[in-house]
Amino acid sequence: MNQSALRISNIVKSFNGIKALKGLTLNFNKGEIIGLVGSNGAGKSTLLNVIWGAYAPDSGELYIDGERIEKITPTKAQELGISIIFQHRRLMPYMTVAENIFIDNMPKKKGVIDYKKMRTDAKELLDVLNLDIDCNIKVERLSAEEKQLVEIVKAYSKQPKVLLMDEPTTALRQGDVERLFELMNTLKSQGSSVVFISHRLKEVMEICDRISIIRDGGNVSEGEKLDYSPDRIVEEMSGITATDFEHQRDVTDSSFSKASQEVLLSASSLSVDNCQDIEFALHKGEILGFAGLGGSGVENIFEALYGLKTHVDGDIKIDGVDVEIHSPIDAISYGLGFVSEDRQLNGEFLELSVKDNICIPKGQKKRLYSVINRKEETLASKGFIEKLNIKTDSEEQLIKNLSGGNQQKAIIAKWLHLQSKVILMCEPTAGIDVAAKSDVNKLIQQIALEGKGILYTSSYITELMHVSDRIIVVYQGRIIKVFSRAEYDHNKIYLAMNGINEQIGAKHEH
């Protein structure tokens, strides 16, 4: 049984001179479920893209069934029996479920597509997995969970020799996770190699036979699951051991802002989507960090506060007054600002100038027919460019010509210009380089010092610890623990994000 299905050795891959993979070596055996674990930025998605043939590695070898493959392409990978479920879904929204499942392998009769066979085959597959999805409806009409399940069925239908799954359970409900596990076991018993990439330690511990841990593009350790505990996994992922405790706290950090007792925004028994009983208070001058794995619901809470969700229950108070927020316009009128996770998608006007990007939200306070005060706007944007050190040759420059970090500063500037009291920041440092990240984070701390309240998320725990004054950990839609700065511990936070919490664990013993 211990035959290698897929082996990579000494893979090196760099982007612009920065090594994302530094000689990674991994071996996936037939008939085995392997948990591949690493924190964000460890190189998991780069690895998948190398195996899939989307990126050519700088050096290193790849073996399938013990045979060396010189140059792999997506088509070849598929022919060789490799199937990958990527984190971002790749289904065709306007085709039916059946068509999506067989998109690259349509059953044919006399040279034309045999739709009847395709539908019966698709139905059979869905039945095997006990899924209640109509194979004749278009994918766009499915929920996020169902789409993920279709993606899984599609990968399964190819009877892959190696199946790699990147965070497949993020969008799934508990029952569906169990079904996925059944399916993984079926594949395993058929001799396939199944690679489960996940942040969810409980699931990794439950389903995997072996565990491989990677960090910063290199190997850390590899072995039987029985040799691992959640604590060991977290320590090895982060590279921080319990004895390093002092090292990870920077209470003495001069940038540590002193939040006042004045509450700017508070939520109580807030519920939205999968979130329930959310309760917190944000003080003036405080950066309140939110931690949670994908699907935990943190983003739902932020969107609910900004009026982007339709069904929100519970009480939100701003400056002690009950408010109802149904739209961004409401949110802005109560003094909220929003920095989105995906700048280009909904954070900025790429084809407009830095000045317009900074001044548009404030302009909405005026009537539609009123004339823009250009002098005032030029002056204001020049001020922000100087104050926030936004690198641009002029305020009239199109924002798309700025670097990512400077674009993000301009986006933050628009809320400062509007004098928002509270700014919700979802992954404000996503997609910008390391130097710019620290720049943006310094700016955020500066803003807090000036008396704003900030709600902050980051998928990087170290960053979250560095920036926030408190960290609220959300697990499956509930606040599981709140860490004060004195209690900060990278590994404990990560375990809490996984629902593994000392106190809660102790309660459950009885």
Partner: protein, 330 residues
Amino acid sequence: MNTSEKSLTQRNEKIQKNWTQKGLELISSSYLVKLSIACLVLVALLSFASPYFFTLTNFKDILLGTAVIGIISFGMTMVLISDGIDLSVGSVVAYSSVILCVSLNAGLGLPVALFLTVAGAITVGLFNGFFVSVLNINPFIITLGSMSLVRGIAYIIIGGQPKPFDSDIIRFIGSGSLLGIPIPIYALLLVLVVLSYVMKYTQFGRNVYAIGNNQETARLSGINVVKTRILVYCIMGLLAGIAGILLAAQTYAGIPAAGMGYELDALTAVILGGTCLKGGQGRLAGTLLGTLIVALVLNGQNMLGVPYFYQLVSKGIIIIFAMTVAMKRN
């Protein structure tokens, strides 16, 4: 001494090179400059080809002929910038001419008739805007529907056939002149100036650009996207109504079949003028040039006696050319 002289000439050469380079860059960077040059080249060519072309009367004719379609094209520019489209404009032209005619013939006074006409045209815009922005339905589909719907209503109101009407003031609007310039040209220029000002200097105008650029960002930035988009279609309706009044004033009749294909003529001019189909970008000055180029080509062909069928071919070529250039520029 020698060396410094040398460096001086070198510097001079450099400056000269910079000037020519800058000139070339300006030509290659600014689409508007290119369009203006194309316009001038066209005028020069046609002046050589036909002795009747380069005359004041002919230029007046060209401008007069572009008044109706120009006003619609300016509105269409704004609609495209907002990442929308309005295919109902040609029908609204006919429908407003019909309302004007019928109300005048019914004995209503001119102010009332004009009010009804304008109100009717804005109502169509409101209808389009409601579906597009409140119900979030694709503007192409909605305005394709209202194109047919409004045309039908125009026929129903007037009873199938064009009907004449008479009003001194309307007659003056259609064919009178002030300081030697026909009234419709004033209307064209007035719309150009006002709309350019609105688009460039008001909150509304900037919101339209912002929405066309990224509707989701616009919503999260607190822009009232629904209201702004409704307003865009209402203004488009109003402008199509004004164009309809001008057309009725030039023909002294309410014509239910008028304005057929105007939506495509306007789109040709707007796209030739450099407005982006994806929204967020575009300028009325470009549309003015686009309209003029189309008018010059058609007028030149008339001057040279090119048969109508060939004119259709050349119009098609302009559309394809404009589209290809527009796509390549992105």
